[in-house]
Symmetry: D3
Subunit: 174 residues, 6 copies
C-alpha cells in the first residue's frame, strides 16, 4: 500500500511517530503531507512549513527511520477540489491517514480508503496540548522527538508562541 | 422590473419558492444568484454550486416555473467592490431581493432598490433550520421542493452533512 | 447524454448555434459553460460574463431554443484541478464539447468523452474573426444571432473594442 | 530615526494623534501604514482605505501637521512574509510603532526595533470604543479629530455602521 | 477639480513632472496613483512600490511641489471592477489623467472625465526609454528629477536592471 | 554549506544530475526546490509537482543518491517577497544554485551566495530541449535518468505533451 499521512504537524510529536511505526513497515511508499504550509506565527500554527519540515526530518534521522517523503502543501480554500490539489502535489497513494472528519469525507467521496489512527493518549499527544503547555510554561519536551526540541530551541519557538499569545488568532490585521 | 434574488440556497427551500411565486409574476426578468459558489462540504455550506444549481433547476421544472436565470458566483472578499463583481456576472437588474443586512447596505449605497422579503415562518423555512434537522436526523423533506430532496438523496447529502459535523467549520486545515 | 459545451463566447455566434442545433436534440441535458468569466474589456475578451450570458439567453429566446442551462465560470489557473473546478459548478455531464486541445486533454485524462465539433466555415464563424471585423469596421452582424447584435449595440460594444485596441492586451497595468 | 506607524485607523482618533505628536518631532521620516486596506463595510473595518486616507489627511491639515506619508496596504495572509510585503510598499524605516503583539513579533524576528506606544486612556481612545459608541448612538465626536468627523458625516458613516450591525462580521457570504 | 493621475512611474520622470506642473495649479486635490504596486524586479517594472513612492516624494520635495497625495495600489486583474477598486483606495476625484487607452475606456464607461496629457517629447520622456537607456548604459539622468537619480543610485537600480535583463520578463518561474 | 538547488525540473535530466554529483559531496544539507509547483499540462510545464517529485525520487534511488530533500513550492507572483516565500518553505540554506538571472538577483540582493552551475552541454541537457524532442518524436530517453523515463511512460507524458501542442501556452482560457 501507498500511504499518505496528512497533518499540520504543529509540531510533529510522539503520537505521529507511533503512526509511522505502525504503518511504515507495511507500506510500499509513505508520504507525509504538511498541510496549511502557508501558515505560521499564530497560536494554532506557530511554525513555518520549513521549520516543520526540518523538525520531521531531524526526528526521522535520529530515530533511524528511512523511506519517508515529506511534502508541504498550501491550503486551497475550496473543499470540492482539495483532493485534486493534493493529488497534483504527491506521488500516487491509495491509503489516507488522517484524524480530520472533513479530510475523511473528501477523500472517501472520491473513493479513497481513509484511516483514522488510534492516537495513543490523545490528551497528551496532540499539537494543541503541546502548544498549550509551551504557552503556560509547563513541561512539553517529553511529548515530542528530540529533533523537534532541537529545532524549537534554535528558532526560539517557545518565545514566539508566548509573544503572540496576547492576541487571539485571526485578529491581527496589519 | 428586473429582479436579482440573492442567496446561498443551502439548500433551496419552500421559503425561497414563495419569494419566487410573489415576485416572478411582476418581473420582466428574474435572476437567482447562487452566492458563495466556491463553498461546499461545510456545515454552513454543504453543497457545491453545481449541486445547488441542479436542486433549483429541478424544483422549478417540477413546479412548472419558467423564465428564471440561475447564476452561480464566487465570493470576492472585498465589500467595496462586491456590487460591481455581481454586475459583471449578471444581466441588468433594478431590484435586489435579499435578507442580508450587508447586501442591503452595499446595493443601497450604489442606489439600487433592495427588498427584504417577509419569509413565511422563518423558524422552519431557513437553510440553517433544514441543515440542523438533517444533522439531528429530524424530518426536513417537507420544507423543501421535491427536486431538492431528489438531488440530496442522489449525492448522499445527509450523510455528507453528518460526517463533517464532528468538526467545527473553519477548523479544517489540511 | 448530458452535454457540457465549453467556450468563451466572445461573442456567441452562428457557429455555436449550429453546435446547439446538432447536439441539443440528442441531449438529456445541455449546459453551456461560459469560460474566463472574470475577463472583459480586452481585445480577446471584450465582453463581461453578464453581457455574454445575456447575448446567449436572448439569442436562444429568439430562436425558440429551450432547455439549455448557461453557467459562467471564472478561470482557475491550475490545469491539474481545472476539471474538478468545472464539476463543482455544473450539473452532472458525460460528454464535453470543445475545440480546445488542452480542454480535450484535461477531460480525457479523467475519462470523459470529448468531442471537437466540426465548426462550419471557421474562417467566418469564430469569435476572433468577428472581433477582427468589428475592430476594422467591416460587416459582422450576419455572423451572429440577432440577440447578440442587440446586446452589443445596447452596451456600445463596437466602440469598446475599438477604444481599447490601441493597446496590446496584457500591457495595461494600472 | 525613520518611523513606520502601523494601524488600521478604523477610524483615526485622538490616541493616534498623540502618538504623532510624541514621535514626529524626533523623526527623520514618518510613514503611517493603513493596514487591511482591502477591508470595509464590516463592524470591525467599516471604512475603505480611501476614506481612511482622507480622514487622516484632513485631520493632519487641520492640525497643521506636515511631513507625514500615508500609505494604504492590503493584507497578505502569510505572516512569514508579511514584513517583506510591508518593506516593498514603503520608504526605508528603522522604528516600528504598533500595539499589536504579532506585528511586534514579526518585525522583531527580522531585527527591527518595535515600540508599543502608551496610548492615553485606551478605554476611550480606541477604534473599537469609537465604533461601539457610533453603533449605540452615544457621543463619539470628541474622541476624533475634526477631519474625521467631517469625512464620516459626508459618507454617512454612522448610518453605515448601524445598518450592517444586524449581521455578525464574517457571516455575510453573498 | 480633483485630479487622479494614474501611472506606473517606472520610474517617475520629467514628462510626469510637466503633467504636475500643468494640472496642479488648477486642482483642488491631486492624487498620484502608483499602479502595479505589487510588481518589481522585471524589465518592465524594475522598482518596488516603496522605491517608486520615495522617488516621487523626494523629487517633489526638491522641486518644492506640495499638496500631492501618493497612493500605491496593487493590480486587480478584473477590468470590469478595476475602477471600483481604485475608488476604494483614493479620496474622491472627478478628473482622471492617464495615457492608457484601457484606463480611458474603463473610467469613461463609468462616467468620469479622462484626459490624455500631451507628454512633451515622448521619445525621451517615457519610462520605457529610460529603462532602455539604463540597460544599454546610455545617459538617462537628465530625463528624470534629481530625487529619482538619488534613489536609483542608493538601491543600485541600474545594476538591478542589467542583471535581470538576460531573461525575458515573465519567463522566471522559480 | 547548506545548498538550495532551485529549478522547475520539467523534467529532471542528466544536467541536473551532474549538479548533484558535483555539489552533494561538499554539502552539509542539500534541498532541491521544485518551482512552479502549481503548473502542469502546458508546453513549458507539462508535469505536475507530484509527477516531478516522483521522477526525482526514483532517479535518486536508482542512482543510489541519498540525503537530498525535495520540496515543491508554488509561485508567488511578487518578486520582492519571493525569497522570503522560499525561506518559509525550506530548512536553512546558505548557498543557492540556479541558472536563472532573476533568481540570482533576488537572492543576491538579500545577501545569499548564488552559483550558476556550468551545465554540461546545455544544447542537450535542458528541459526545453527534452520537451522539444518529445514533441517532435525524436529520441530523448538518453538525456534523463531511468527514473524519469519510467514516470513519463507510466503517466503517458509524451502523449500529453503532443496533445496539448496544438495550442500555444497561455491561450487556453476555459
Amino acid at each position: 500500500m501507498k500511504v499518505l499521512f496528512i497533518g499540520r504537524f504543529q509540531p510533529f510529536h510522539n503520537g505521529h511517530l507511533e503512526v509511522l511505526n505502525e504503518f511504515l513497515p507495511k507500506a510500499d511508499s509513505f508520504t507525509m503531507l504538511i498541510g496549511s504550509a502557508q501558515e505560521s506565527h499564530t497560536q494554532r500554527n506557530p511554525f513555518t512549513a520549513g521549520e516543520r519540515f526540518e523538525m520531521i526530518k531531524l526526528s526521522l534521522e535520529k530515530e533511524n527511520i528511512e523511506g519517508i517523503d515529506i511534502i508541504p502543501i498550501m491550503d486551497i480554500n475550496r473543499y470540492s477540489i482539495w483532493v485534486k490539489h493534493v493529488e497534483s502535489f504527491t506521488p500516487p497513494f491509495d491509503l489516507v491517514i488522517s484524524n480530520n472528519p472533513l479530510t475523511h469525507r473528501l477523500f472517501s467521496e472520491i473513493g479513497y480508503e481513509v484511516i483514522s489512527p488510534e492516537m495513543y493518549d490523545r490528551s497528551k499527544f496532540s499539537g494543541e496540548e503541546i502548544r498549550r503547555r509551551i504557552l503556560s510554561n509547563e513541561s512539553w519536551q517529553d511529548l515530542v522527538p528530540k529533533g523537534v526540541v532541537m529545532v524549537i530551541e534554535r528558532i526560539e519557538g517557545t518565545e514566539r508562541i508566548r509573544s503572540i499569545s496576547a492576541k487571539k488568532e485571526g485578529e491581527i490585521n496589519v
